[in-house]
Amino acid sequence: MDMRNTKFIDFKELDSIKSRSAIRSFFEFSADIDAVVVDFAKITFLSRTAAHEMLVLQNNLSSQGMDISFLNVSASVNAMLELVKNSLGKEKKVGFRFVKLLTFEDDKKYEDYLLQL
């Protein structure tokens, strides 16, 4: 590996990454980079969306011939990456997504419903 063309990403002072855009912001670099090393040593929490973005980027960069590797991945961060990997391409579960539409005869009945909370 030619170290001059390797981009090291350690997420600066962050200890958690909670959004896609945060992941993307660290992956803006020039086209002459041929390898990326992502060091998760400081990261204690990676959200699902951030993990998904990370894996999408990994896939895209790999398909462009770029070598990308992850270092110092904690158990919790690894669990999130694995969760997202295992859910890719799978159908969403109907049971998770139930919505019951309620209608009320009048405002008083709606108020009574809200006051039960």
Binding site: K12, E13, L14, D15, S16, I17, K18, S19, R20, S21, A22, R24, S25, F45, S47, R48, T49, A50, H52, V56, S76, A79, L83, S87, L88, G89, K90, K92, K93, F96, R97, F98, V99, K100, L101, L102, T103, F104, D107, Y110, E111, Y113, L114, L115, Q116, L117
Partner: protein
């Protein structure tokens, strides 16, 4: 004819239903022509109402004169919130709340560009850490709550079209629960579907209730839809089935309370979310991964 002044009233009441009714009534009175909002009759301002009023005031095209702020409202930086942009600023502003049951209202950047994401991550990390200290959350609960709130905030970043989102928090130690509230005054779910430009057809989504139903079912406007659209459904499941909490999501006139969707009667711009988490007793066996797809 609209009145030029508005003086909301709310007394101590932790019931979400009461707070929602107050919010609903307030929507009748809040309009762009308001000159004065007097908060002197708000003897208690729970995070739902604090974030509702703060976000409305901050995002209004015409800022009314604000009066009647009591000590608590000033302590939570109502209505203009805090927006620290560095680690040292976060520490300076948030460390004084470690022994309190609330944090100041946080106004965070929703930008995806330049330093926006990094500053937002840093700020929210501090806020979450402060909440964890205040509530003495064990790791399994902290991770679950971080998961939920992160997903909801990422939806705001991706869809609201606004510059700022808002976060409010209150810990009710004697009642044994905490409320985390989020808000933006952006496009809302319906606007997100209506503003979508792309290959998918969302023309069947014509009102706020249909928009909420679609979002819960995972119909995403984001690219690669089959791998997106988990945020609301999973957050709701972790909260209601995993933690025994209450999930409230208001956008437009659509109000989702756990699995029940209803017409709120008045339209609230953008989205407001309440995540109520019981934390009287912590279950050591609780594992958030049991409640996600």
């Amino acid at each position: 004819m609209y009145s030029a002044s508005f003086s909301p009233q709310f007394d101590w009441n932790t019931q979400i239903g009461n707070q929602l009714l107050h919010l609903k009534l307030s929507l009748k009175s809040l309009h762009d022509g308001l000159e004065v909002i007097d908060f002197s009759k708000m003897s208690f301002t729970p995070p739902l109402l604090a974030i509702h009023y703060a976000s409305m005031i901050n995002e209004s095209s015409y800022i009314p004169k604000i009066s009647g702020l009591n000590f608590y409202l000033e302590t939570i930086s109502f209505p203009y919130c805090i927006s620290p942009r560095s680690k040292s600023e976060c520490e300076l502003l948030l460390n004084s709340y470690l022994d309190k049951s609330y944090v100041p209202i946080i106004k965070f950047d929703l930008s995806s560009l330049a330093d926006g994401p990094r500053i937002r991550e840093m700020l929210l990390s501090h806020v979450f850490a402060t909440i964890r200290t205040i509530t003495n959350l064990p790791t399994n609960y902290f991770t679950a709550i971080s998961y939920m709130v992160s997903e909801l905030i990422d939806n705001m970043v991706e869809h609201s079209g606004q510059k700022h989102g808002y976060l409010a928090f209150q810990y009710y130690s004697e009642n044994g629960f905490m409320d985390i509230c989020l808000a933006d005054r952006g496009a809302g779910l319906l606007g997100s579907y209506q503003n979508y430009v792309g290959e998918r057809d969302f023309s069947a989504i014509t009102n706020h209730l249909e928009a909420v139903d679609s979002a819960v079912k995972g119909r995403s406007t984001k690219p690669i839809p089959e791998d997106r659209g988990y945020g609301i459904a999973t957050s709701r499941r972790i909260l209601t089935q995993g933690l025994g909490g209450t999930f409230v999501y208001l956008t437009g006139n659509a109000l989702l309370i756990n699995e029940e969707l209803s017409n709120f009667g008045f339209e609230s711009r953008g989205i407001i979310v309440v995540v109520r988490i019981p934390i009287r007793q912590f279950n050591k066996e609780f594992n958030w991964t049991d409640f996600v797809e």
